[in-house]
């Protein structure tokens, strides 16, 4: 595609409280890290320009609140996402166990056209810390069970793998967007139909 149109990629970062979502975003966008923890209250975004295969695209990265009490604000921003980043803390097993529900809730709220093929990326953060509670193998197994989600081990503190992970995120997001555009071009009418004529009664489209 040789289009010069401005491309905006929307990326959502999800995961339990204090796994390092805000830290990862700050490390990637501002190359800064702080040891201090300040809970994110409402979802907010930063933007960053990246070049992928000679194309400049803008990433709009939404950082979200992991703490439940700050989740009363809505998640309408899930809609139109191009990639979802799931984060857990390799030293905290509960944050790994929550991944399924973060993924499920995302799919329900974002309602992507093809839930099975929607791009997720998993980040196991804080690899600079000991002792580890979740091995790389265990994380990879989970990824395989979810249609081969790419997995990165990162440290927001050391800046380890952060750049690589976000580049992969951007690539996956771009691929998703191109696919959606293609889909639109091929079956424009069908999509219109599915948008307006959803069955309003009957079964939930619950993914769990």
């Amino acid at each position: 595609m040789a289009s010069n149109k401005k491309v905006l990629l929307k990326v959502i970062i999800l995961g339990d409280s204090s796994v390092g979502k805000t830290s990862l975003m700050n490390q990637y966008v501002n190359r800064k890290f702080s040891n201090q923890y300040k809970a994110t209250i409402g979802a907010d975004f930063l933007t960053k320009e990246v070049t992928i295969d000679d194309r400049t695209v803008t990433m709009q990265i939404w950082d979200t609140a992991g703490q439940e009490r700050f989740q009363s604000l809505g998640v309408a921003f899930y809609r139109g996402a191009d990639c979802c980043v799931l984060v857990f803390d390799v030293t905290a097993p509960n944050t790994f166990k929550s991944l399924d529900s973060w993924r499920d809730e995302f799919l329900i709220q974002a309602a992507p056209r093809e839930p099975d093929n929607f791009p997720f990326v998993l980040l196991g953060n804080k690899v600079d810390l000991e002792p580890r509670a979740i091995s790389a193998k265990r994380a990879q197994q989970w990824c395989q069970s979810k249609n081969d989600i790419p997995y990165f081990e990162t440290s927001a503190k050391e800046g380890l793998n952060v750049e690589q992970a976000f580049l992969a995120i951007a690539k996956n997001a771009l691929a998703q967007q191109n696919q959606t555009v293609d889909l639109y071009n091929e079956f424009p009418d069908q999509i219109k139909l599915t948008n307006t004529q959803r069955p309003s009664n009957g079964s939930d489209s619950c993914a769990c």
Binding site: G42, A43, F45, L73, V75, A76, F77, E105, I108, C208
Partner: protein
């Protein structure tokens, strides 16, 4: 008529003022008159400049008397001279008082520019502050601001002559209002004259001794009786009448009540929902204001946590913060503005500005809206909308219609329950 005998507190006529703050009078202040041109040659002899000492004033008074006799009875000059004579006498009196009292503010070395008496923060007023015609709240006499030293309370607007400061009876309305923290909410709670021993409820003077019953005045706010020095026949809107009967007709009140009602008019002291919930059904504007305030509260939650809204000082657009901080407390002014229709339209405008930010202009706020997962309509739903239902368990937001269609069972809560159950089973299996 224009007399300097300010010490007779109970003169027959007393000034009248209303809550609008304007004192009704046809007289003009002494200083307003300009020296008639025919008298120009006498200027130096009349002590027109304000610095004159005792002997200069004495001479000027004599000169003035002479000139009065020389001018014909209805001439402009004579009128001016009579007024000037009064001013000179008042000034003479001030000069004498200042001589006898080292603390008198007219003495250059005196430091009595601020005094705290009965809770009032009294501040000496500049001679130049002759804005409007005032009466002393203590002696009820005119304050000739050009020639007499006078004070005003910063907190409640109480005014008095310097010489009346030592005999102030009335507590500062601001202090009284703060200590009480609540209006009198019984309509004219009259106890009867005998209960107050036939004497003025404020100054204690006997109300029957002068045999003139017409001089006894009832205050509609306190239900008590006052003398004409404490009750000037002013009128004000009474909170109890508004709260119980939605009645905004001004009623006669004593000066103390007037000042209390004045200092509290903007304070959110009235919990109308608690005091008279039926009013919201009866008064259409009121139910509209209530609905708008409830919506604004939900809207405020969004603006409080939005950096764009903070940068734009959006919440500051509401000059009365209590209107959006809570939904229950009203000031008397709010109720008056509701009755006039000003408040509903003001709140409407405010809501429009806020909603334009949240729903159209701000990407962050838009992103923080909800999408009803039952109907999956593309429209972004906000919890403060009338059509929204908020799950009391998980805070998820749906259309009211949609959740009713689901017989009020929340799909998100259901998922959470299933997840917890499978987690437990998983843990049990591990334990075995």
């Amino acid at each position: 008529m224009i007399s300097g005998d300010d010490n007779t507190r109970h003169s027959t006529s007393s000034p009248i003022s209303t809550l609008s703050g304007k004192t009704s009078t046809s007289e003009t202040d002494l200083s307003n008159s300009v020296l008639p041109s025919k008298l120009a040659s006498e200027e130096l002899n009349l002590a027109i400049n304000k610095e004159a000492n005792e002997s200069e004033l004495k001479e000027a008074i004599n000169k003035c008397k002479e000139l009065i006799l020389e001018n014909s009875e209805y001439s402009v000059e004579r009128k001016w001279l009579v007024r000037h004579l009064i001013e000179l006498r008042l000034r003479m009196q001030e000069v004498k008082e200042a001589l006898a009292d080292p603390e008198h503010p007219r003495n250059k070395l005196s430091s009595v520019s601020n005094r705290t008496i009965k809770g009032h923060h009294l501040r000496l007023q500049s001679v130049l502050n002759n804005s409007g015609y005032r009466y002393c709240d203590q002696c009820t006499g005119t304050i000739w601001s050009v020639v007499q030293a006078w004070y005003m309370c910063d907190d409640c607007g109480y005014v008095c002559h310097y010489k009346c400061m030592s005999s102030i009876i009335r507590e500062c309305a601001h202090v009284v209002a703060c200590e009480r923290g609540q209006y009198e909410l019984d309509i004219c709670p009259e106890k009867g004259l005998s209960a107050q021993k036939y004497s003025c409820a404020e100054c204690g003077i006997s109300l029957v001794s002068n045999k003139d019953w017409s001089e006894m005045r009832r205050c509609d706010y306190t239900g008590l009786y006052y003398c004409s020095a404490c009750h000037w026949g002013s009128s004000a809107i009474i909170p109890a009448r508004v709260v119980h009967n939605w009645d905004f007709k001004p009623q006669p009140v004593c000066q103390a009540s007037l000042q209390i009602l004045r200092v509290t008019s903007e304070r959110p002291l009235i919990n109308l929902e608690q005091l008279n919930p039926k009013l919201f059904i009866r008064v259409q504007e009121l139910s509209l204001v209530k609905r708008l305030r409830q919506e604004l509260q939900g809207i405020r939650k969004y603006l409080l946590v939005c950096r764009n809204a903070t940068d734009k000082h959006l919440l500051w657009k509401c000059d009365k913060s209590h209107l959006i901080d809570n939904a229950d407390m009203y000031s008397l002014q709010d109720l008056m503005d509701t009755n006039s229709g000003d408040l509903p339209s003001k709140l409407h405008d405010l809501e429009d500005v806020f909603l334009r930010h949240i729903k159209i202009e701000c990407e962050i706020c838009k992103g923080r809206g909800h999408i009803c997962e039952i109907c999956r309509n593309e429209e972004i739903l906000f919890p403060f909308a009338i059509s929204a239902h908020i799950c009391p368990e998980c805070q998820a937001v749906f259309h009211k219609q949609c959740i009713e269609r689901k017989k009020n069972s929340c799909p998100k809560c259901l998922r959470i329950k299933i997840r917890l159950k499978s987690q437990k089973e998983f843990n049990n299996n591990i334990n075995i």
